[in-house]
Subunit: 282 residues, 6 copies
């Protein structure tokens, strides 16, 4: 039961438009770790869902994507781990495919964004999350999950990061938003349509989804649950809209910590959500 790849994955990489790659890494997690088991759980539990999406009326079997498995990342050495993620993302981009990263903690996004931004210097990031992740440093460490969007801002500059659902952060982080360095819609996705319309359809976009943007009632399997989040349909709807309207050149789903949810429904949701993301990219 359960296999080594996500359900419906193609046998070989060649024809795939999208390539999944896992980063089972959580060494900088400051609260409850466990996201390192995310990618394996998603693959193994994916046999419990269907390949068909009634919502999009599409089937993974018609859509060639490849699952290239997990990177073997060294624990306790974030610099090296990020380099390995960046290198893998570059390989996938070089083949003209879309790299789709499965975390792991949110820090792993930085490796992928570095690779994508190298190829697409005018990159925008659309960011769903409960937490701002805009700290300058966390206990003196700059390569931390709590700083990942700040590091992306270092790379891309003002006005390139669009955040939705943020409902936790320090006063300094919210001041950073209000100063206009990033564009943030706190709590909700109320301005999503306007934001999407403000981005040229062919501009390269990186989509990063911290699964904890969902309400903890629908997604308890994450290290830092924050009440007052999105429901499942809302998030799927947003992603389908983004992928349909914009030019998504890289993306990730991060922060599933399977063992924190003994009911298993967070992993099950992550599987159907991944299916919907994949089908939305067609």
């Amino acid at each position: 039961m359960g296999g080594a790849t996500f359900i419906g994955a193609a046998e070989n990489e060649q024809d795939a438009k999208v390539v999944l790659y896992g980063a089972p890494y959580d060494s900088t997690t400051s609260f409850r770790p466990g996201t390192r088991f995310g990618p394996a759980a998603i693959r193994s539990e994916s046999f419990g869902i269907e390949t068909y999406s009634p919502l999009q009326d599409r089937d993974l079997e018609d859509f060639p994507f490849f699952d290239s498995g997990d990177l073997e990342l060294p624990f306790g050495a974030p610099d090296r781990a990020l380099e390995m993620i960046e290198a893998r993302a570059e390989e996938i981009l070089f083949q003209g495919k879309i790299p789709f990263l499965l975390g792991g903690e949110h820090l792993v996004t930085l490796g992928a964004v570095r690779a994508v931004a190298k190829k697409h210097p005018d990159l925008r990031i659309i960011h769903f999350d409960a937490h701002a992740d805009l700290r300058e440093d966390y206990l003196g460490v700059r390569l931390s999950h709590a700083c990942v969007m700040r590091r992306c801002h270092d790379l891309l500059g003002d006005g390139r990061i669009f955040q939705f659902g943020i409902r936790s952060g320090t006063r300094e982080e919210f001041e950073f938003m209000r100063a206009g360095h990033v564009v943030t819609e706190p709590f909700s996705d109320a301005t999503l349509v306007e934001v999407l319309d403000s981005i040229p359809p062919d501009a390269p976009v990186y989509l990063t989804v911290d699964m904890d943007v969902l309400d903890p009632s629908v997604f308890p399997g994450t290290g830092t649950p924050e009440a007052g989040g999105f429901n499942y349909r809302q998030l799927v709807g947003d992603v389908v809209r983004i992928c349909g309207q914009l030019n998504v050149v890289g993306l990730d789903n991060v922060e599933l910590a399977p063992s924190l949810d003994p009911t298993g429904r967070s992993t099950a949701l992550a599987c159907t959500f991944l299916r919907e993301c994949l089908l939305a990219l067609t």
Copy 2:
């Protein structure tokens, strides 16, 4: 604490209008088993709720129903188990009472429907579920929880099954719906009023509720949680409406797997939901 029957059950069967009977069976469950413990958990935890429903302003103490306990079903022999369920349902029907089945996996519904359809050949089924359950077979097995509505369709023919909340299935199952063999409202209960109005008030109706039609956030204790479901009030409202408007001659609540929800709230919800169903039948 907790007893051998559901809270408020009558001492004897004679005056009861409704008779509960349990089918602690889950041998064909393809993913995570555990529904066999559903009926016992509902009885044992029912002491934690009240007999009074503020919603309906009715009390179980005024409403004579009987709890006849669980059938002792053989594991790994679905044919025999279904025969035993059918026989028990026939006994209850013969006494002029309404058989109310507590599952167990969804396959047990087939036993009850066989008995009810024998007495009422013009039977309709109203079906709440996250999953279509319309497969022709599952890994070569035709008596599987994943096929139970297809087997009911074999029995009743086109246009007799009305589904609500379905959000998972194969492409083939959704094509079966679209071909009109069954009437399906996917994802929601948007068309419930129209459907009810289309059924003659005295036509016999079997109501089957797979508890996983609820969103996994409100009902995580089930083997195959599927995000994007109903909330509790919505489901109770629908059932109260159905029982008030139509002629319900048999019904069931299935697929509670208590141990998959360590918080115990799925069982607690199943108890209050059962109370509301019983009170709605008056």
Copy 3:
């Protein structure tokens, strides 16, 4: 990780406007105990949240409150426990501060209300709960969590208690409401604005929040989960409104039972909710 006081608490009591005090007591709990661990869990897990509230744009660091720790209450002796709680509340009131009680089971509220009502005989109580708590006695015991609001009514008389969210109780309890002894909005907070407008702005108000007023999907960590409750934003919004409009002279948050929710999100929510309550009192 985690400390002996709630995050952001002042070093000394002197300048504090609000004083937290814990009552880790659950001896009369009739179903699943465990609320005794509530206050300790809230303190220990509070290091996982921020001191800043984006909702209210306020920070605990600007707001002097003191955390005076837990009372050491004897198990199995409710009379004595209530006396100790009452005495502690009186001390805090005597210093001109607002006593903020962390339960523990709901019975502990009675100790606090006795102290506050002694100082403010014209006290009103605003009560959020899933359960009416209006029984005359429970298995012959009058000092029970199931009777706490009835004991408050004994103290304050008719028309002083305003209940929201109640969705469980005996027929007798609902008749007690309908007879007008208390003012109850069952299931919801639909009439909150009217109720608040009916109370003079300077009239002393005690606010008691049984966390199980929240839907079990958002707050499973409680002994008697009852489906069909409030969501998080709704409850926070109500509390902010109450504290902003009325003269809250004492309050409590009760009935968190941390170990009943292995995902830990109930405790996390209780932490952010406590932060919002504290900030709303400024």
Copy 4:
């Protein structure tokens, strides 16, 4: 699955030599509560074991015992609860039967011992436990699980209580032992044979087994696990020997807290242990 009585219990009380009665009470538990669910769990899970004991080559089906169910005890009122337990034990003794109490916390033993000591003033107690339970009071409360053997000593006087396996207590409790008020074999059962030989074979004996005398590795389902305890065979062997050699006129098994052991093996062990105790009494 699971029923209302322990497996193999007789249909009626008349011919029974032993009568089971449950005291689902844990209001004075100072650490982790949950023993209130012990008796119900033992009954419900007993269907998973056999009625036959290969060790004793005896079968419950040949041995008439009756299971009279649980007392409905008020939470938070230990005086009243103990009176009810005492009254029930007296009834059973009056019928010339052996009362066999299922706890609940260890305090419940006091109710049973009071009844037995009234009939047999020369009573001895054999006590298996990890904890001395000899405190004069606990946080000022004298009716506490931590004081139960001290209360029995108040009743019976010096030299009547024989303890085995004790490995936790205050310095004062161990001084009380060393002063000779009770006869204690700490850590082990090394002197069991000598102790048994020192008791006249027809002297009335009450046997109280706090299941936490077992090592937490074999019995984790208890509120205060203490490393370094007995294994299962050792405890069963001791009980078989005691019941074979002495005149046991009352007994109990207490302190199972089923939900503290999610593997369920503590309850399973409690079931087989109860079977062995019952068969040893023939």
Copy 5:
């Protein structure tokens, strides 16, 4: 993390002496199901152990075995499932290799034994288990885990089955042993050396290990824990001795139910035990 095969497995089947094959089946389990997840858990968690055994001073990397994955067995159709297992075992035997089955419930052993006994009619079975598994039928069903050794006896006749560790069964099962149909050492392995010496070194032997022969303290992850079992070293020692002295032509490890042990140590033990079994076969 974790892969699709057991750690150290060879890339191809050709040179392998032993072939692992999984039977994720538990449809006849009468108590708590979950063994269907056993084989997948063993593979996935095997990355957490070493390939080297200090006990045997051997390394899996020097020992060619192949892991052929899981059979896709239909739930609820034991006849068909056993046929598929038998067919797979025959294939492996035909290639001159040793079939090593990973359960699943104990019933799956019957499929393997049928295949091995067809090739080796003079087969003996060495059986480690807590339960006799010698019932003629269970609730009328003859293909049940509770009957598997009786079905093997049907096949092989008297004096061919050697049982160790049995500590649970009906009176009838123990009478069947005492009548000499099987050779049973209840509770222990005291007579193992004698039994092994009584078997000709070249006689074909099937070794079946129900992991619940271990004490529940060391192996809680199983559906029917029975106190008083083996420790880990004892079981490994016995298996090393058997494989060293006798001609083992087929074997299995069954009844791991990973989710029943939230600590994960049962699965970890099953991994090291499987390593030791594989290395003992060299």
Copy 6:
């Protein structure tokens, strides 16, 4: 319930002979993380044990030790974390006290050993563990829990490290032992007496106890459980002997991961074990 320091700790540091300091760090953990919560859990749960040890007949109240709380270590930066641990240990040593470290993962030992070895260049290490921890590197990382004893060997050279209980490692690690670089008694403590006698009584000794040296049945709350370990009495006996006979100048208890053991007994054992260690140092 539960406090900010270990039970019985002195109010101030001055008179203390031993100083506890916590290192809640697990960033290099390769399998299941969670030891970061170890020190806090030990402190918080210590209120559930007694200060008195019947085994040693000593009481913590007579023994002045200080609990200086946890270091605030940066996640994902092992170099910096080790420096902070080393600095703290040096401070304690400078005051002429014994530094007693609570982990955290085993890597934290390196920080303490560096400090102690600087003061005592002729240091010996006595090491209890299930795992050899002698790898040269782990996935290219040299500062990993799997390499900690190898790093200590780098520091101290041959013949200075004495290992007991080791039952897992790579072939290379066991060859390293056999080459005589360290003195290892695999699986057991059979040679403990001889080893202790071989060390001069005044030679400085660092004692490091990876709690996973215990059998997983008695200590399941650890990331990498390895069957076949010590029991509790054995380990306590060894530690009491070591502290009584040798000159222990620094020590640690590491690798408790509380949340991996939902029964809570691993933390409870860690508390009593810490008490015994503290009392043995008098």
